[in-house]
Subunit: 306 residues, 2 copies
């Protein structure tokens, strides 16, 4: 009996849960990580850090932003315009005793008690590099590299373990001239491919596009693909069905213009980034090397410090 690709994905998710790699939560599409999974994710971060340190950046800055930021950030990065279907905004409770009693009554009656909350100015970040652009607002940049790790939220609940609502990215971002931004992205596509290949994954690099919203979005997506702004590193977790586990992006001067960031020559700064999808890579490694971490190839465990 042949399983469909959807059945294969769900079946793999169940194996991961049974073996303690993934921990289901009360929320659809949100998984915790068990002991071996978190150890692999930590190993991936350490390995990426080592590779980054070997490069010759004018500066390598490790910054850390929490998963919550402002609704302004979604507007000013054009995320509201381009990916409204993926956003998460935060509502809070500002009532007194009477409103609290009503809230609790609705919750206990099984009604949608969240209707009684008020929108706040907080929003979840969809990409770990977004807060960086706001941080650099009004500054001049010249090829400095930023190493960022953090949790992202994208509203696309799924039973596919490769499509989590909440997941971590490790990103390397350079801002500066067009050449600095593009070269950074291109260099890291090579570095990322080398790193993932050394871990036993067969990688294909392909031009790609983001899931822009709506009809106008389809034009943006095809423009992005034609201009070769985005490349994905894919691996065939399920034969015939490549899964993206990392990507390199050249944003042109999109963020530089929106946040008034200037290159050394006075022009609007360009930005380029490379992002590792940490949980996706970990899952691809399990698919490749099996559910028993101690049976993974010695060189792979050595690279991950396991």
């Amino acid at each position: 009996m042949t399983l469909s690709i959807e059945e294969q994905r769900i079946s793999f998710g169940r194996e991961l849960i049974e073996a303690g790699w993934l921990i289901p939560t009360l929320a659809d599409g949100v998984n915790g990580l068990g002991d071996p999974a978190e150890a692999v994710v930590e190993g991936l971060q350490a390995q990426a850090s080592r590779i980054a340190k070997q490069q010759n950046y004018p500066a390598l800055n490790t910054l850390r932003f929490p998963p919550v930021n402002s609704e302004q950030l979604l507007r000013r990065t054009d995320y509201v315009a381009s990916f409204p279907q993926l956003m998460g905004l935060v509502s809070t409770f500002a009532g007194e005793r009477k409103e609290h009693a009503a809230l609790l009554a609705a919750a206990e009656a099984g009604e949608s008690w969240q209707q009684q909350l008020e929108p706040s100015a907080f929003a979840l970040i969809p990409a770990v590099c977004h807060p960086l652009y706001a941080h650099l607002e009004g500054r001049t940049v010249d090829g400095e590299c930023y190493q960022l790790t953090g949790d992202c939220f994208r509203n696309e609940p799924s039973e596919d373990p490769f499509r989590m609502v909440a997941f971590r990215m490790r990103e390397y971002v350079v801002l500066g001239s067009e050449a600095q931004a593009r070269q950074h992205r291109d260099r890291w596509i090579e570095l990322g491919e080398e790193m993932l290949s050394a871990l036993g994954l067969e990688i294909v690099v392909e031009s790609a596009n983001d899931p822009f919203f709506g009809r106008a979005g389809r034009l943006l997506a095809s423009g992005q693909r034609e201009a070769k702004l985005k490349y994905e590193l894919l691996t065939e977790v399920f034969p015939g069905h490549p899964t993206a586990i990392a990507s390199g992006n050249w944003h042109q001067d999109h963020f530089g213009a929106n946040f008034s960031i200037t290159a050394a020559d006075g022009s609007v700064a360009h930005s380029g980034c490379f992002g590792f999808g940490l949980e996706r890579i970990m899952l691809a490694l399990v698919a490749r090397h099996g559910l028993e971490l101690k049976d993974w190839p010695v060189p792979v465990r050595a690279l991950l410090g396991l």
Copy 2:
């Protein structure tokens, strides 16, 4: 001229920003961490991990839960009843092209565009141990220890750098008999005090209570304090004004009952936890040792691996 305690807190926050320890974001009360701050937070985690490994637990499990979970978790932990003022729920966009146009128009007009979103089933976690109780639902426990690190959200925006809306906790949680839960909490209060003292902080341990909501909440709070369920580890960052930087809690059988978790003898499981407020400890260390990480005492840097 003497500064008020509020002015001292805000002034310290400005110094931290100028020196690159904290990075303001577009959201009130949300800070990113600069290079030295993140290095200290990583050092604190590594040091806590080393201490945990030296203890004799039947098992020490490192699990990792993302910052997003289900609204059910807020209800089932009684957070909606006890701390509604601190909650964060997630709203998302489920519209088509027409609704998107309206959303963008409101955003561009500077109106509260988030009013047009719909409540989702997602919520932010206020404490990193909450997803663990749901994970253990229906199981039997016998003193196993869980090591958890993650981002928490509590809606209390402030200019005080010690009161962040989004912050990280490292928690050690044991579930089992009443004795196992209490002894774990008490042991970690000692271990935590030793660890923080070795880093140069003067620590006082005091019985405390959580900020339960409303008039009924004040009774819960005073009951919690009288029953000595919660202890805080405080340090005088500002003379005469102790700040809590870690805490030990015995939840009695609150979570065991709500999630049907059973102790080895068949009774309802008790839980105890100890949590380090990672950013608060880092800030207390800066207040103690200064803004230049390289000038911190050699033994402190050695303990943090810096």
